[in-house]
């Protein structure tokens, strides 16, 4: 609908509009990122950063198995979180796009509000709910369960619950947008060809919703490897994930180069995993369903 205008990137009208974002993200995103990479090659002495180039931090990172165990755990949690989010989000997104005509906007507003509400508060709310003497057990006892029926607070399960809770909306929104774009007549054409509802869904809707599913998965994965609040507040800090390790390295151990290196490792591995999946996925598409 919107006409695309060809312009040289030097065009003043274009440059004027692009410049604020470019300046902001180069000075306050790209430059800090590059500096962080540079920091990994520095040393610390007596909790003070000293600008001397060295590979000390990196030999440390690559020789301590501890860091890598935590990273492995983080990647596992993030992957599980992506799978759960997609599984839960898909039917909701589909319902939002295909049903709920009258309530569609109310449901969207409710989800948006839940999404935009402060994550700390919501996570705190879960603590109150899941606590031994909290709301969940109170309700469970009311329903006739014995003792502490709900006892998952301060375990990995609670961490996972919090992660899914805080990231689910991303998947709902991206999948909803891509289902909403599907031309309804394509589905009708599938019915006309003799497909049942499920068959039409499987053969037409699902493949066409792939961009949204993929976008949601990537977004959630990248954000999930960086969670810190959930493992600390809901998981009780018992099995730390990478972000918590990084925070401790900065705050408790005051080792900036190491913290920077761990940050870089985490981001590199996360992006690498995404690219790997993308590769396998597109390979499979090219080879066809063998």
């Amino acid at each position: 609908m919107s006409a695309v205008i060809d312009r040289s990137w030097r065009d003043p009208a274009l440059l004027g509009k692009a410049l604020p974002a470019v300046l902001l993200q180069t000075t306050c995103f790209l430059a800090p990122l590059l500096m962080t990479i540079a920091l990994t090659f520095q040393r610390t002495r007596d909790f003070q950063l000293s600008w001397t180039w060295s590979l000390h931090t990196w030999t440390d990172v690559f020789t301590k198995a501890h860091y890598w165990t935590i990273l492995g755990h983080t990647l596992f949690m993030a992957t599980l979180c992506v799978a759960l989010c997609l599984l839960i989000a898909f039917p909701v997104a589909y319902a939002l796009a295909s049903r709920l005509r009258a309530f569609q906007n109310h449901v969207k507003v409710l989800i948006t509000f839940a999404f935009l509400t402060d994550a700390t508060l919501k996570t705190f709310g879960w603590v109150l709910f899941l606590d031994k003497n909290g709301a969940a057990n109170y309700l469970a006892r009311g329903l006739g369960f014995e003792g502490d029926a709900v006892n998952i607070l301060f375990t990995d399960w609670a961490t996972m619950l919090g992660m899914v809770y805080n990231l689910l909306a991303f998947a709902i929104f991206t999948i909803y947008l891509s289902i909403d774009e599907i031309d309804r007549s394509l589905v009708l054409a599938a019915y006309d060809a003799g497909a049942s509802k499920f068959r039409a869904f499987w053969e037409v809707t699902l493949p066409l919703a792939r961009p949204g599913i993929w976008a949601g998965a990537v977004l959630i994965f990248l954000l999930a490897v960086g969670v810190f609040l959930e493992p600390k507040v809901l998981g009780g800090g018992k099995s730390p994930m990478s972000a918590e390790l990084i925070r401790q390295t900065f705050e408790t151990r005051v080792n900036w180069p190491l913290g920077a290196a761990l940050t870089m490792v985490l981001m590199t591995v996360a992006v690498f995993v995404v690219l790997l999946f993308n590769r396998v996925y597109s390979l499979k598409r090219h080879l066809g369903p063998a």
Binding site: M1, S2, L30, K108, D118, F124, G134, L168, A243
Partner: protein, 277 residues
């Protein structure tokens, strides 16, 4: 000529439709319940009479709202949250809107790198963004002699939120018919008049939603504020430190107070968006 037989489904059509309905409505209901469990739990606990966050309640009262009112730290945090959110909203919306116009309306050689750079923080974990920026500001601060505080927190928020604003406005720009601008020029409008009478009014619903989204993302932000605000506290960091040192119904009361502008703004944004559609 009888043709091929009709395919036989594994369920008859009506049973299939009912199963689909149960699954879809069920999932939506369950997810809404899931989303609101902690929110309702917090609201409920804010009316607890006693000072422990356990059930059953000792009684219902508004006692903790009174405490909240008298607590100067909480008031301070509320003020800081609002200040950061308003300033971050203005800048994030402005930068995001301009970037969205560039990314959608123009085709130029550096479009893909530009869009990538402008949207990059969207996929960067907030805690890590906070840390990276903290390092940056610490190094710069040592050089130019400043400390982290409200200003650095605002910068961090804008870095993180401007991409969100860009995505929201981009949808509106995408649906914008550029010939309307040509039509206005043909009617005799200068570039400024085109902006004032056509472009801005038509993009306004998207800009408005982006502004509300920006405000709320900043208002409720924990990770970036936690890293970047120095000694200043906002509501989220205030609650976090409160939970860490032992809780009282004061915090659920704060949460409930925080929810109110949130839900009102979300409803308002939705109204605007629908009026424009």
């Amino acid at each position: 000529m009888t043709g091929y037989p009709q395919p036989t489904p594994w369920l008859n059509a009506r049973a299939e439709a009912r199963l689909a309905d149960v699954l879809l409505y069920g999932a939506t209901g369950a997810v809404l319940l899931f989303f609101y469990i902690p929110i309702f739990t917090l609201i409920a606990f804010s009316f607890q009479e006693g000072r422990f966050l356990t059930l059953p309640f000792e009684g219902f009262s508004l006692r903790w709202y009174g405490e909240l009112f008298r607590n100067s730290n909480a008031g301070n945090a509320l003020w800081n949250s609002t200040l950061i959110a308003v300033v971050a909203m203005v800048f994030a919306t402005l930068i995001g809107t301009l970037a969205a116009i560039v990314a959608v309306r123009y085709r130029f050689r550096l479009r893909i790198p530009f869009t990538g750079l402008a949207a990059a923080p969207l996929a960067f974990p907030q805690l890590l963004l906070g840390i990276v920026l903290l390092l940056w500001f610490s190094v710069l601060g040592r050089q130019f002699n400043f400390n982290t505080g409200l200003v650095t927190a605002i910068i961090g928020h804008v870095v993180y939120i401007a991409p969100f604003a860009m995505v929201i406005v981009a949808v509106q720009v995408f649906n914008f018919d550029a010939t309307l601008e040509d039509a206005a020029r043909d009617c005799g409008a200068s570039n400024w008049a085109v902006y004032r009478y056509i472009t801005l009014p038509l993009l306004w619903p998207g800009i408005f939603s982006a502004a509300i989204f920006s405000f709320l993302l900043s208002w409720g932000n924990f990770y970036l504020t936690y890293s970047l605000s120095g000694a200043a506290r906002t509501l989220p960091t205030f609650v976090f430190s409160g939970i860490a040192t032992g809780s009282s119904p004061l915090y659920p009361a704060i949460a409930t107070v925080v929810f109110i502008p949130g839900i009102l703004l979300v409803i308002l944004a939705d109204r605007m968006r629908r009026r424009a559609a």
